[in-house]
């Protein structure tokens, strides 16, 4: 029997969760969000998501180290990118965004786990910078399921035919028309906006599931949402013309961003204290950009900016080593 002995390093037992399990659970938890997207934006929403996923996954497959598709992270990137795009966006743009996000948000950094910026948001920020008009053109919610919104099938490099009927997002309306959307519509998601951002409650449910399974750290979203609520409530108090906390919480990409994007393990702090700081920073930035910034929405930029701070936050929030009290540092 000696021949067939297995020799591994200690510890010889391991907890159940593995990285792919975590990732695929996140994918699973996004299914309801995708369903909601289909409900609100019909086939157009699904097509945009699909295009983004294809872009991300294909790039990971052809440029990646190989065999890394199985860990599921590329799929998440594609999904979340797709969910953060407007329903009528030409598919080639969505696809390009996915490819860009994976290539320059992940692969050049060394692949899974090495990147500092959230790949999906790198992809989205690129799209927003490259095609600002297309990505801020919002087809109205609802309509028949099979209706093709916007100019989905525009050819690459060709300016999409601007859709006659476009709506505006609650944030756009607020910033540029000074008109606030009904809270009920915000909560039920019956508003213009990105494919997956409008179904706030579904997103929260998915987040709750992941938090319960400990696949995402609840501190990050909680501290983001609390901060946004607190800060905007304060500002609303000082100047009632400013939107109130509930509007802030349920409009724009905040929910999706706070629950699924700020919580990306790789690009958020590793210490719990750090996660509180991270969330606080995002919350403040979101409110500041939404109220005083030029852009109507700032979730993406807030997260990207705080991503850049993560290495610094990690440094600053290292726990005190056991027994190093009394400044007796071991070396």
């Amino acid at each position: 029997m000696t021949a067939s002995l297995v020799v591994t390093a200690s510890p010889h037992v391991r907890s159940q969760d593995s990285t792919p399990v975590i990732m695929w659970n996140v994918v699973g938890s996004l299914a309801p969000v995708v369903a909601a997207a289909a409900w609100f934006f019909g086939v157009s929403g699904l097509l945009v998501i699909a295009a983004a996923v294809v872009g991300a996954v294909a790039t990971e497959h052809f440029l990646g180290r190989g065999g890394t598709l199985a860990d599921g992270s590329a799929a998440i990137t594609g999904l979340l990118l797709g969910l953060a795009l407007p329903p009528g966006l030409p598919l080639w743009m969505a696809c390009l965004g996915g490819a860009f996000g994976i290539t320059f948000g992940k692969l050049v950094w060394g692949g899974l786990g090495q990147n500092v910026f959230n790949p999906a948001l790198v992809g989205r920020a690129f799209l927003q910078a490259a095609f600002p008009v297309a990505i801020t053109t919002w087809p109205p919610v609802g309509g028949p399921f099979w209706a093709l919104k916007g100019d989905l099938f525009a050819l690459p490099f060709i300016r999409p035919a601007t859709d006659a009927i476009t709506s505006a997002t609650p944030l756009g309306l607020l910033k540029f028309e000074g008109h606030a959307t009904r809270l009920l519509d915000l909560v039920t998601g019956a508003t213009g906006g990105s494919v997956g951002e409008t179904a706030a409650l579904v997103i929260l449910a998915g987040g709750a599931f992941l938090a319960w399974k400990r696949y995402l750290n609840w501190r990050t979203p909680v501290s983001i949402l609390l901060t946004v609520a607190a800060v905007s409530a304060l500002i609303h108090l000082i100047d009632p013309r400013r939107p109130d906390a509930l509007f802030m919480l349920f409009s724009g990409g905040l929910m999706l961003g706070a629950v699924y994007m700020a919580t990306d393990l790789v690009t958020s702090p590793i210490t719990n204290l750090g996660r509180w700081v991270f969330g606080f920073g995002i919350g403040v930035l979101v409110v500041v950009i939404r109220i005083w910034g030029g852009l109507p929405e700032g979730v993406m930029y807030a997260i990207l900016f705080m991503n850049a701070l993560v290495p610094f936050i990690n440094r600053a929030t290292q726990p005190r080593v056991f027994g190093s009290r009394g400044a007796k540092a071991a070396t």
Binding site: P132, V133, T136, T137, T162, T166, A168, F176, E177, G294
Partner: protein, 224 residues
């Protein structure tokens, strides 16, 4: 890699080892070098100055002609302690706010061109605004300087549909998004460049607000 490169050249200027020379020699060297370069630069400056001046003048002229609908002549008013005067004050002129009053062949005043700058989406946006104090309406405007996003914010000077709407409108204006203007004081903003568009509106409103009383006062003080 060559991150090394940069920080050297000047980096080592002081602590240099090597033979030291008497102070007078250093001074002489610098003096000569300075004198030479000064002379050279001055000469070239004087040679190029006319051309540079001409270009500036042309740019101004073109702008004024555009916003005042091709006046045959125009003269400059300077704003010195809150009052307009035709006599240029001493010192550097380009900080002094100016108004350019344009006349047609018949000597009738077409309007006044004024410049104003305020933050846009990225940086300050500088406009020249043609304004008719008589009717209180706009003759037009042109962008003198702007660093907005190419292909987006810079439509405020490229997109003629946008710029033409201002002709004949009476400030204060309001920018509306996504629909045709309803009242004569409304202009439609550029999709994707709402912020820049509104910046233009804001600049024009503020400028008119500021200059209307001044021009009125000037008129009372005897129009030509």
């Amino acid at each position: 890699m060559t991150d090394v490169a940069p920080h050297c050249a000047t980096g080592a200027a002081p602590q240099v080892h090597g033979k030291s020379s008497p102070a007078w020699r250093l001074l002489i060297t610098l003096a000569i070098a300075g004198a030479l370069s000064g002379w050279l630069v001055a000469t070239v400056y004087n040679i190029t100055l006319p051309a540079v001046k001409r270009h500036a003048a042309e740019r101004l002229d073109a702008a004024v002609r555009e916003v005042l609908r091709a006046p045959v002549r125009w003269d400059t008013l300077y704003l010195v302690h809150d009052a307009l005067t035709r006599t240029a004050p001493a010192g550097d002129l380009d900080q002094v706010p100016k108004a350019y009053v344009g006349y047609d062949a018949a000597g009738k005043r077409l309007g006044v061109a004024i410049t104003a700058a305020e933050p846009g989406f990225q940086e300050l946006v500088t406009l020249m605004i043609g304004y008719d104090p008589g009717s209180g309406s706009l003759i037009g405007f042109t962008v003198l300087d702007e660093k907005e996003t190419p292909g987006l914010g810079d439509k405020i000077e490229r997109d003629s549909d946008f710029t033409h709407q201002f002709v004949g409108r009476t400030p204060p204006l309001t920018g509306v998004k996504g629909r045709a203007p309803a009242t004569p004081s409304e202009v439609q903003t550029i999709t994707g460049a709402t912020i820049s568009s509104r910046a233009v509106v804001r600049i024009i409103d503020h400028a008119v607000e500021r200059w209307r009383p001044l021009l009125a006062a000037w008129d009372r003080g005897g129009t030509t």
